[in-house]
């Protein structure tokens, strides 16, 4: 099994307002960082997969994102592509890289996310097709429908959504590169401006300029490089390619199908997860995933996140670098990177003791797409 895929290098730029720097430049910086971190040279890269952020677009005219980035990096890879799964894209390209590496299609696959969303206003306020006539704009409106349903059906309270936001900031306070390091209280959360009720500003993830990249290679290659690598123990995708008017939408995520499958591939259960890196574009998505992955029963996530359970030192440390809510909007790739850092023991002031198993998720495109990675030391 020497071709078992591992993540051998990680790199990212600063996240926040990086005016005057193009997404391409940020992606090149993150890519160089990841390759150097793996102990490799640019000439070693023979695979390129990209997950362009919402402001970038998968196509520039007729030029796909991976082609333009690959040309700028001077690559001639044996395997290349761009992913179209929205917020599930970063996790999905790492999965695709693992499959390619294990199949022998390439040996060193660079996976890159990047965007300049904060310097390109309007990326997230998009109307939703014909429904824009009714004022149905942005990802926030869609997730507000899910949140309202959860509040109604399970008696979930706003303070419980707030507990997710408070935990994210508490984690970010220990993360030097996080965009928002100021801790907040539940009262701060309750006082924050309503955006699309029941969601407040503090329920919503950051918008960021920044890029993040990882290198996927074989366990054998990684051993020769002498850098600790994270093993890819399991992975899965599940999607629900339906409109939000379909009966199942808003109550369960496709995570309910791919979470158990990814864990089963790894020969593990949810109880084995030491650190969870759950895609957190909105607080409600964290609650839904805790249920759908099986960390708690359906409808019980509100109580689960109270009392510090998901915060620093909690029994299920969740997004120890702050996640999309506080670290920065890294498309999901920052979640992958934090998992690797935790498993390498390189998370410094926020290290989860003895972290051996990390679960990473990606969620996107109107709650339609989902992807899961189970990583190990």
């Amino acid at each position: 099994m020497s071709r078992r895929a591992v993540i051998a290098g990680v790199g990212h730029t600063a996240f926040g307002k990086l005016a005057g720097r193009t997404a391409w430049e940020l992606e090149a910086e993150a890519a160089a960082g990841a390759v150097a971190d793996a102990g490799l040279e640019p000439a070693d890269v023979d695979g390129l997969l990209t997950d362009p952020g919402p402001a970038q677009g998968i196509l520039d005219g007729i030029t796909p994102h991976f082609l333009r980035l690959g040309a700028q990096l001077g690559l001639a890879p044996d395997f290349a592509g761009s992913e179209l799964l929205g917020g599930a894209g970063s996790v999905a390209i790492v999965e695709r890289a693992a499959l390619a590496v294990e199949a022998g299609l390439c040996s060193v696959c660079l996976c890159v996310y990047g965007d300049s969303a904060l310097s390109s206003p309007g990326s997230y306020g998009y109307g939703r097709g014909d429904e824009a006539a009714f004022g149905f704009f942005g990802a926030v409106g869609l997730h507000a429908l899910a949140a309202r349903r959860h509040l109604h059906r399970y008696g979930t309270r706003p303070e419980q959504l707030g507990a997710v936001a408070v935990a994210a900031r508490a984690h970010a306070a220990r993360t030097p590169h996080a965009q928002l390091r100021q801790p907040i209280t539940i009262d701060d959360y309750l006082d924050s401006e309503p955006v699309v009720e029941p969601l407040r500003r503090l329920d919503c993830c950051l918008v960021s300029d920044g890029a993040a990249a990882v290198v996927v290679t074989t366990a054998e290659r990684a051993r020769d490089l002498g850098r600790p690598a994270a093993r890819i123990l399991g992975h899965a995708q599940a999607h629900r390619l339906a409109t939000y008017t379909s009966p199942e939408h808003f109550e369960t995520l496709p995570a309910a199908r791919c979470g158990p499958r990814a864990l089963a591939r790894a020969g593990l259960g949810v109880a084995d997860v030491d650190v969870a890196l759950l895609y957190d574009c909105f607080t409600i998505v964290v609650l839904l995933q805790l249920e759908d992955y099986g960390f708690c029963k359906k409808g019980e996530s509100g109580a689960f996140v109270e009392g510090g359970r998901i915060g620093p030192g909690g029994s299920l440390p969740l997004n120890p670098s702050g996640g999309l809510l506080a670290e920065g909007y890294g498309g999901g790739m920052l979640h992958v990177i934090e998992a690797v850092r935790q498993l390498r023991g390189e998370a410094e002031g926020r290290q989860v003791p003895d972290a051996e198993v990390a679960l990473v998720s990606g969620h996107g495109l109107g709650m339609n797409t989902h992807a899961t990675l189970v990583l190990g030391r």
Binding site: F134, L145, H152, L199, S246
Partner: protein, 138 residues
């Protein structure tokens, strides 16, 4: 009214729906093979793939399955606050629309609603208001 809101662009699949709205009728796409009623319309039944689809007039009655209160204005033609509602019709199909005719604070899940038709630019949009007797409670 600050300019026109973003309006649907009817295509061959959706045009019958918007034409029905112009006649003040709410219609749903119904599969003649399996009976599934759904919106928005598509090229086949998403449940059984039959292409034997018919437009059926709906009663216009339904309930709020979920809703979102927009406190932020995204388009000057649609100033906040307003309520986007996911309405479940009696026929089983759901659609995204607005809850109108009551304050945002009076919106609730399961609120019985009925359709009304509002002219907006070139189109007539189906919106929903509380069913008679379901108005704002003191």
């Amino acid at each position: 009214m600050a300019g026109a809101p973003p309006l649907p662009r009817p295509d061959p699949l959706t045009r019958p729906f918007w034409e029905a709205c112009r006649r003040r009728e709410l219609v749903v796409s119904r599969c003649e093979a399996c009976g599934h009623a759904f919106l928005p319309p598509g090229p086949c039944c998403p449940r059984c793939w039959s292409r034997r689809l018919a437009w059926r007039r709906a009663s216009g009655r339904g309930r709020v399955w979920s809703f979102a209160v927009y406190r932020r204005t995204y388009d000057p033609a649609l100033p906040a606050p307003y309520v986007v509602a996911l309405v479940e019709l009696e026929e089983g199909a759901r659609l995204v629309s607005n809850l109108v005719g009551c304050a945002p604070e009076a919106a609730r899940v399961d609120l019985p609603v009925r359709v009304r038709f509002d002219e907006v630019g070139e189109l007539v949009l189906p919106r929903f208001e509380p069913a008679p007797g379901e108005g704002e409670r003191p």
